[in-house]
């Protein structure tokens, strides 16, 4: 009995192995296709940004950039004067000086300040919710959680009105104010990790005469390095990607962030269409910081997404 069933199992496994070869070819085809679909748009942006701006109309679809040049990057970074290029036949490029350095700096300031503030203040709150007993603690935490469910636009309009009424439109503090003190997600995220942290070390430090804030700052936070990094990363990327709020509050050119600058640049159409090579160079500049973060911390982001699936 057992011998027969064993051979049957073996036969089945052999058949499965034969099928697998055919199956794995299909599998690898799909994986290849997925990677291609994901990567190709990025490649095409880089390819366009490197294309000779005088020859985009005649060479729009070749796989490699025609007459590769860095001139598009130089002109969106304000390093070259576009006038000679226009004279040389690049009629469809932006005639003004554009300086993406400023927008890059603004995006870094905007995302950086929000990240530091939000991560710190949300962690403090999360620590209090996880460790201290104080009146209305659970009620306040529950109300925070309901904040997760309100659609952005419901808050957006009154926030805009409020920032307008206190005269913060067109200021940096107006741009960062709604994000810098907390988000319900950040508090929730950090609280989960503080709850799972062993209290022994903290209690020992308290016995040694450390203050509660000292314990938080020198023991609990350093132990939370991993989750803190993840939260900071997600906050940074989220703020970096923000569009409507900085568009409405930071219209001024000195405050303009990359997403807003790109859309404004897109709407300037020298010859009835956007300055494509310049626009794509600007797009590459906006993508690079995210790619760098991704190369160093991509794994962390993927893990955090897997975490959020279980909350």
């Amino acid at each position: 009995m057992t011998a027969i069933s064993q051979t049957k199992v073996q036969e089945r496994q052999a058949a499965a192995a034969r099928r697998f070869n055919f199956g794995s070819a299909i599998t690898w085809f799909f994986i290849g296709l997925l990677i291609f679909i994901t990567i190709f748009p990025f490649y095409w942006v880089v390819r366009t940004a490197l294309n000779d701006p005088t020859a985009l109309f005649t060479h729009a679809s070749e796989l490699l950039p025609y007459n590769p040049t860095t001139i598009n990057f130089e002109r969106v970074l304000g390093l070259v004067d576009p006038a000679p290029l226009i004279a040389a036949g690049a009629t469809n490029i932006s005639p003004g000086t554009i300086n993406f350095w400023v927008f890059l700096r603004n995006s870094f300031m905007f995302a950086g300040v929000i990240t530091i503030g939000q991560t710190l203040f949300s962690s403090m709150a999360a620590y209090a919710f996880a460790r201290f007993k104080f009146p209305f603690r659970d009620v306040i935490f529950f109300i925070y959680l309901t904040g997760l469910m309100i659609p952005g636009i419901v808050l957006f309009i009154p926030n805009y009105v409020f920032i307008r009424q206190i005269g913060w439109i067109g200021t940096f503090q107006g741009m960062v104010a709604p994000f810098i003190l907390m988000t319900p997600f950040a508090v929730f995220f950090m609280r989960q990790f503080f709850l799972s942290l062993n209290k022994d070390l903290e209690e020992a430090a308290l016995l040694d005469g450390s203050t509660h804030f000292g314990v938080f700052w020198r023991i609990s936070l350093p132990l939370m390095r991993g989750p803190l990094m993840t939260l900071a990363l997600l906050t940074f990327i989220g703020s970096w990607n923000e569009y409507l709020w900085p568009f409405l509050v930071g219209r001024d050119e000195n405050l303009r962030v990359l997403t807003v600058a790109l859309n404004i640049f897109k709407s300037q159409t020298p010859q009835g269409m956007p300055d494509w090579t310049g626009l794509m160079a600007g797009t590459v500049i906006s993508i690079v910081p995210t790619i760098i973060l991704f190369v160093f911390f991509g794994r962390r982001v993927v893990d955090s997404i897997q975490f959020s699936g279980f909350k």
């Binding site: 794995s24 599998t27 690898w28 799909f30 990677i35 994901t38 990567i39 748009p41 990025f42 095409w44 942006v45 109309f57 679809s61 203040f121 403090m124 709150a125 209090a128 201290f132 009146p135 306040i140 904040g147 309100i150 659609p151 952005g152 636009i153 419901v154 808050l155 309009i157 009154p158 926030n159 805009y160 409020f162 003190l181 907390m182 319900p184 005469g209 450390s210 203050t211 509660h212 804030f213 000292g214 938080f216 923000e242 569009y243 409507l244 997403t259 269409m273 494509w276 794509m280 906006s286 995210t290 790619i291 991704f294 991509g298 794994r299 982001v301 993927v302 997404i305 897997q306 699936g309």
Partner: protein
């Protein structure tokens, strides 16, 4: 010298600062620790949520004083009027009450009726949004499920997961930029390819029939990897022993998928559906960059409608907030329906553990 200063610092008791004087008063410490977040929550979450409801009962253009108008804003966007037609030739305007514009006209034989609304754009934007969600969510979820299974069975590689997450890390504005260029009618590589292969040039964002589907396609591209990773995490929680046991019982791959994978994945799938539907209803950035609500209102989703009320047309804060409150109620209902339908709060996995 440096060494002594370091060691003396570590041995010295902490200076009796502000925090040490608080001692072990947990109530005070707790309040102090949550204070920044409490201010942030009160000013930028709680207050605006309440204020949205207040403004929705007002007529207000930001420049003059607000005026209480009761339910008028809700009436303006929601009230419908049904008007029978006496003949098929009759003009819609003849049967509609004043202040009402045609939303839809239904002809039955010689007669029929006309449905009017005070601002038909609201219901149209609702229709556009629902169309968008229906284009976006089913395809995105099925693709993500397929990719997740592929990742789990054949390509369990962090590198692949990393690549697949890349689009989701990009701003919507950037993603829109990538695709307005790829899909450009004359210079876009996809259109050039379609022309060369004989399919012919497509309008995509510029075509009233294709615009909303194109926006949905772009968002599927951005979100399918992210969604796949969420589902992948769920797949990993299913015990391998279940598959082995069912294989011994002679179950094939399809049966295993229907009887084991799908039921055990249900909580994760519900989480994915609920969050992606909520996100999908709030589509804005892509539209602001790629189509600006056009062509001819074909991509004017609810959020874009609200945006126009505040920033593009005659400033109408009341209507804008009323529409956002209606959107909130729609989202709550849709979420509750989904959770009820799929019973997302229970898991068969509990039976096995």
């Amino acid at each position: 010298m440096a060494v002594t200063s370091v060691s003396s610092r570590s041995e010295a008791p902490p200076p009796p600062g502000f925090f040490s004087r608080l001692g072990n008063n947990q109530a005070l410490l707790g309040i102090l620790f949550i204070l920044p977040s409490l201010i942030g929550f009160t000013v930028f979450f709680a207050a605006p949520a309440v204020r949205s409801v207040f403004i929705s009962f007002q007529e207000w253009n930001l420049l003059t004083d607000a005026e209480y108008v009761g339910l008028e804003n809700y009436q303006n966007i929601l009230e419908l009027s049904f008007n029978p037609l006496e003949s098929a030739a009759q003009d819609s305007d003849d049967v509609l009450p004043d202040d009402f514009d045609e939303l839809a006209r239904v002809q039955v034989g010689g007669g029929g009726f006309v449905i009017g609304a005070r601002d038909p754009r609201f219901y149209r934007s609702l229709g556009v949004t629902i169309t968008y969600v229906l284009f976006n969510i089913p395809l995105q979820t099925v693709l993500a499920l397929g990719i997740a299974i592929l990742m789990e069975k054949a390509a369990n590689s962090p590198l692949l997961r990393g690549i697949m997450i890349l689009p989701w890390l990009m701003p919507n504005v950037i993603v829109a930029m990538l695709f307005i260029w790829l899909l450009d009618p004359t210079l876009g590589v996809i259109n050039i390819f379609l022309q060369q292969t004989g399919v012919g040039q497509q309008g995509f964002f510029g075509s009233p029939d294709q615009a909303i589907a194109s926006v949905a396609g772009v968002n599927i591209w951005r979100h399918m990897g992210y969604t796949a990773i969420l589902i992948f995490a769920g797949l990993k929680t299913i015990p391998k022993s279940l598959y082995e046991a069912s294989r011994v019982d002679g179950a094939n791959g399809l049966v295993q998928f229907l009887r084991i994978t799908l039921p055990l994945l249900r909580p994760v799938l519900v989480f994915v559906l609920v969050t992606s539907v909520i996100g999908s209803f709030q589509i804005f950035d892509t539209i602001a960059v790629a189509t600006e609500g056009g062509p001819a209102g074909a991509t004017r989703t609810i959020i874009y409608y609200i945006y126009e009320q505040v920033f593009e047309r005659r400033i109408n804060m009341g209507v804008a907030t009323a529409a956002s409150v209606v959107l909130f109620l729609i989202l709550v209902s849709v979420t509750l329906i989904q959770i009820r339908t799929f019973q997302g709060n229970t898991s068969e996995l509990a039976d096995y553990s």
